[in-house]
Amino acid sequence: MKILIINSGSSSIKYQLLDMNKKEVLTKGTIEKIGMQGAFLLNTRNDGDEVKLIGEIVDHQAGIEYLLGALISKDHGSLKSLDELDAVGHRVVHGGETFKGNVLINDKVIQKIEEVAELAPLHNPPNLKGIYAIKELMPNLAQVGVFDTAFHQTMPEYAYMYAIPYSLYKKYGLRRYGFHGTSHKYVSHRACELLKVPLNKQRIITCHLGNGASITAVKFGISVDTSMGLTPVEGMIMGTRSGDLDLGVLTFIMNKEEIGVASANTLINKHSGMLGISGVSSDMREVKEAALDGNRRAKLALKMFSYRIKKYIGAYCAAMGGMDIVVFTGGIGENDRSTRMEVCENMEFLGIKMDKERNNSVRKKEGIISSDDSLVKVIVISTNEELVIAEDTMDILRDHNLT
């Protein structure tokens, strides 16, 4: 079984070709600057062969055509012919309420994804471009849509609703959807696998901390609450996003600074978060460096970052009636031991007891970082969204007897 995973952005495409029998990545790559000058495709095969293809890539379809060409090429390919491909799995950001799970793509599904695009105007349209392109180039190949929001569709109504007039929910579908679903799903499963405990008996809090960050309460295998909402701006403090914010602050700013909706959007999505507080950078490493040099605002940003996570862990622990496992993942979760330590400090009353040495030694790898007598296991997992998308794609194929 060979599955191609496509993550299609506004002017870029990331891809991976996986052999699902061996669970191994055959090739991965990226296409950048689609439709612009300086466009290129970077293809890396698992044996280390790397090639950069440069030239005009007029649109997503052309990009995908070249990537397929590269996959079957004599010098850099991993396939003899495209017939070896069993399916394409697409990452689709927003599935709205329409898609509670992943789906086999057909014309009707495409139309529904188009309808949902209103909720994610920046993400869904490029995702769709990838789908159109494959449909055009290989009309008979099975395509599966894997949604960032799908894992969170199990949230109960009282957790996903906003306390705004109900009519607005009915009219526009305004509610919390949550994101990073594939990651939260994968790390919660993987944690149980490593700890050798049954998923359906665990109350897990998964912290996906990267440039975007979200926390999910996974109770007995399903998502019951998550920190991101209708859009990814809710919840954690992120690289450039504010996270939770009193709405009065935003209307105050809009009024005083005389700015419109577009600028307000940029303000909370691009000028805020770690960058906004520290004034240094949106990159955690740079903020840390500045804090070490004594920058007061950088120190404050770091403090705020971990405090917000701590608060959410407390909240989700209460929401689930306790917790058994805390998972850290994402660039910051996997590599930043001091943030992990700060988040888990003084949480003994909730059953978290960290092992400092273990925490210091886990970097860019999986491992338990709580002490042996800690009631709650704290564990670091490297997220692997492509693998989840590929596995989900397999599941859908099986459901439809396509394997």
Partner: protein, 324 residues
């Protein structure tokens, strides 16, 4: 070791050659980079498209780049974009003195400023001819002018069917609407392509039949003119007239503020052109406008028009006479 190869040889055999380069927009030309030209350059580049603008001197090129930079900076200050957005936008904009640098553009927009009507028509016709010499036969050539009709400007071209009037309203980056007019020669194909281009820029397209002043100019110019008449008759103070239209009818700017923003010389030229085309007295430019233009009080850009402006172009509120 990373190797570099041309991508073309990786095209699939089933490749659809029909998707030619002309379906895509990667490079846009602008001739004349005054305020509106700068706004168009900035907006187009913000969509990831390369922009080449043509100016008449090195100084003008520097001024235009400076103007765009200043605008982007003020957008950052007002939370509208980030430093890296600004760098990316600027990196795609380039000024030139040579028409040949427009080669390869999919669309070229003429956006020059001129003093008199005769000058204006002849100069634009010449510009259109120069553009045609260096671009592909199907490259869209557009004018941003509203009071001059595109049929006249494109009449002497070899391929007039690719010409349209594409009227962006200032500030082009913020106003999500464009008036698109076709000439007697414009082909359906060219019209559709230019609509696709403007949709890419996130604009609502208002299709218009070619007519001097089309919609926007024909409505805004007489309103400014009428406001001058009200002021001249001593009916009300300038700022009260502005407030009436702003508060009363929800205009973002009052007629005098609007005139200052557009440039009084421009308003007079619009009115002159409309008067010449329609012969209606309502288009006869008010002496208040003409007097100011003669005195070089041209509006916000000049620092003085109906109102006075500080260095950042912010209006200095005149002293109000409290009468009630």
């Amino acid at each position: 070791m990373e190797r570099i190869e041309p991508i073309e040889k990786y095209a699939l055999k089933s490749s659809s050659d029909s998707r030619s380069k002309s379906d895509n927009f990667t490079k846009i030309g602008i001739v004349g980079c005054g305020i509106l030209g700068q706004e168009i350059a900035k907006m187009v580049s913000s969509y990831g498209v390369d922009v080449v603008f043509l100016e008449v001197s090195k100084n003008k090129i520097t001024d235009a780049i400076k103007g765009i930079s200043r605008d982007l900076k003020s957008m950052i200050k007002r939370w509208g974009m980030t430093e890296s957005d600004k760098r990316a936008i600027l990196s795609r904009i380039r000024g030139t003195l040579d028409y040949h640098d427009l080669t390869g553009c999919e669309v070229v927009i003429e956006s020059v400023k001129s003093r008199t009507r005769e000058d204006s028509v002849d100069m634009r016709k010449r510009i259109f001819r120069e553009i045609e010499k260096v671009v592909e036969p199907n490259t869209i050539i557009a004018t941003n002018s509203t009071t001059l009709v595109i049929t006249e400007l494109s009449a002497e071209l070899k391929y007039p069917e690719r010409c349209v009037s594409l009227h962006f309203i200032s500030p082009a980056g913020e106003v999500p609407l464009v008036e698109v007019a076709r000439s007697l020669h414009t082909s359906d194909e060219a019209y559709k392509r230019v609509c696709r281009f403007t949709r890419l820029l996130g604009k609502r397209i208002v299709p218009v039949v070619e007519s001097p002043g089309i919609i926007s100019t024909r409505l805004i110019a007489p309103m400014i003119n009428e406001a001058c008449a009200i002021l001249m008759e001593g009916v009300a103070e300038m700022y009260d007239i502005d407030d009436t239209m702003k508060i009363g009818y929800g205009f973002p700017l009052g007629p005098f503020e609007m005139a200052d923003k557009i440039g009084l010389d421009m308003v007079v030229r619009w009115l002159d052109n409309l008067y010449r085309e329609f012969g209606d007295i309502k288009y006869k430019a008010s002496p208040m406008l003409k007097k100011r233009v003669r005195a070089n009080l041209l509006g916000r850009e000049a620092g003085l028009g109906f109102y006075r402006y500080d260095e950042e172009g912010k209006k200095i509120m005149p002293e109000r006479h409290e009468t009630c």
